[in-house]
Symmetry: C2
Subunit: 326 residues, 2 copies
């Protein structure tokens, strides 16, 4: 896993993934008490950064593998990314999704041409299901984070951040990244190590699902007790990956842990100030910048707003609770 | 009023206005039954294209005029644009706003450092108030649309559309633009005439406020009976401008008239498919593409999503009505 793989992925993604904007707002700056720059991966194809890793992995397959098709397991955003990337390569995609994933994510994955297989998050092991289906049908498994090509694809976000931050004159700052299994976080960290070493990645997780923050403190992998029950469904994993964790450990600053409620508030700030729709997990890095500013160093901060695939009902709830205050 | 003025405005705007993305979604294409490309001016500074015209006008003033300050009348988006452009030039701004403008727009205009003067839309003449205040205090009036430098600034949107459409291989299509007084529409039309003559501008207005569509049919300026009472507050004017109308008449295809309700539906489509927040008037061109596709020619259509300054209450209403269907 190195910068050359990320740069090679960036070449393959050219003309396919979007170079998403890095936006700011004086109103957001005022709440956060420093300049805040928001990398809008919610505007990526399929509404999240996951399209990058999916495209990087699928575009790396040989013709036989593409002909047989791919399989992925995902709570939703990776699913949509793999479904679209596979369709654009003319490959079949089977997606294993938790039955309690947001309906919009299940519907969208099907609409993107994938075959969706649902499983129960509490009682079934998605890895076991994935292994069985992939061996039965000859499908290539595209893992959601602990897979070098996927990390390389997500890392292209970091290449763009390095360029865009330099254009804005931001040469040293924390870069807050929502963290599930660590694919996006480790990919960005590797990209910044090579291209903007004074931009330091900080993983951000919801309260109760802070496996990465605790693993970084312990110096070894720690697990979450729960694997469901968070509004931030997109970024809930049991533990950091075997490939991602050593990268996180080597390159990241301390993790930041954010109450879910602050994600809802940050969604409303993004709505009213940036005009962008974020899902709870996609808003968590912004929430850290807005409401945990004492944990952040420097005059500037960069946050990755990683996805916007939120049900109307959850968004309404956020507006109901915080729409009059943001 | 010519292309050279638009290109000069583009130079002055460089590094200040955002080059907003032109996005698409396979889900939006499916509803519209053709490829739809959405120019996201809601992501412009202050949440609408109005910042472009304001910056173009303010940046064209001499030092004495900047020192005295500027004045503008606006239902909200032009107000915020002028307030921010003036502040960034170190100039004082007085903004005359209708008392029934969305609270968020009044609040934001004040927060951007402007002095806000409220008036009653039904009983008072905003032009008269503007003239009086500007002569009393020596302020330069920045008109919202019937002003060459403002048209030139809005026209920079058209320069970007020409470039971005060519990159996407779209060389001939309708370009749907929300139309109030016609500043944005005429500016884009002039830019496209010079840079992409097979992109044809179509003004879009809400039912009951279709002065431009009727004026184009009549070949001369027609007025609306009402000047308030629309959800599309940002694009309600009594009639097209003296400068803008001849341009619209020479360059635009027929107007399209859209029920307000379709703007709410289009807002929800933008929410779920593009992850962007649009206000009702800012969604009207997208609404035309989605729900009046029989009025549009060609395999592709470009729509300008002009603004995203919407109260949480209006957005909740849109989600309540259409959130389960989009």
């Amino acid at each position: 896993m190195n910068i050359a793989m990320i740069e090679a992925a960036a070449k393959r993604l050219e003309g396919h993934a979007r170079r998403t904007p890095l936006l700011s707002s004086p109103f957001v700056d005022e709440i956060a008490d420093r300049r805040v720059f928001v990398k809008l991966e919610a505007l990526q194809h399929t509404g999240s950064f996951k399209f990058r890793g999916a495209w990087a992995a699928v575009s790396n397959l040989d013709d036989d593998a593409l002909k047989a098709g791919v399989i992925a397991f995902s709570s939703g955003n990776h699913a949509q990314g793999v479904a679209l990337a596979a369709r654009q390569h003319g490959a079949k995609a089977v997606i294993i999704m938790p039955a309690d994933a947001p309906q919009i994510k299940i519907d969208n994955t099907r609409a993107l041409g994938a075959e969706v297989v649902l499983y129960d998050r509490g009682s079934e092991d998605r890895d076991e299901i994935g292994d069985r289906l992939s061996s039965e049908r000859g499908l290539t498994l595209i893992k959601p984070f602990d897979e070098p090509q996927v990390i390389a694809g997500q890392g292209t976000t970091g290449l763009e951040i390095a360029t865009q931050a330099a254009e804005l004159g931001v040469n040293a700052s924390d870069v807050l990244v929502c963290c599930g299994g660590g694919g996006l976080t480790s990919g960005i960290a590797l990209a910044l190590e090579a291209k903007a070493p004074d931009l330091r990645v900080r993983p951000v997780e919801p309260v109760g699902f802070d496996d990465v923050a605790r693993s970084l403190v312990a110096g070894q992998i720690r697990r979450n007790d729960k694997t469901s029950g968070s509004l931030c469904d997109a970024i809930i994993t049991q533990q950091p990956g075997e490939i991602t964790f050593p990268i996180l450990k080597r390159l990241c600053g301390p993790g930041i842990v954010v109450p879910e409620e602050d994600c809802l508030r940050a969604m409303v700030v993004a709505f009213s100030r940036l005009k962008v729709v974020l899902e709870p997990g996609g808003a968590i890095a912004l929430a850290a910048a807005l409401y945990q500013s004492d944990q952040i160093d420097g005059d500037d901060v960069i946050v990755v707003a990683s996805g916007g695939n939120v049900d109307a009902g959850v968004f309404r709830m956020a507006l109901d609770k915080y729409g009059d205050t943001a």
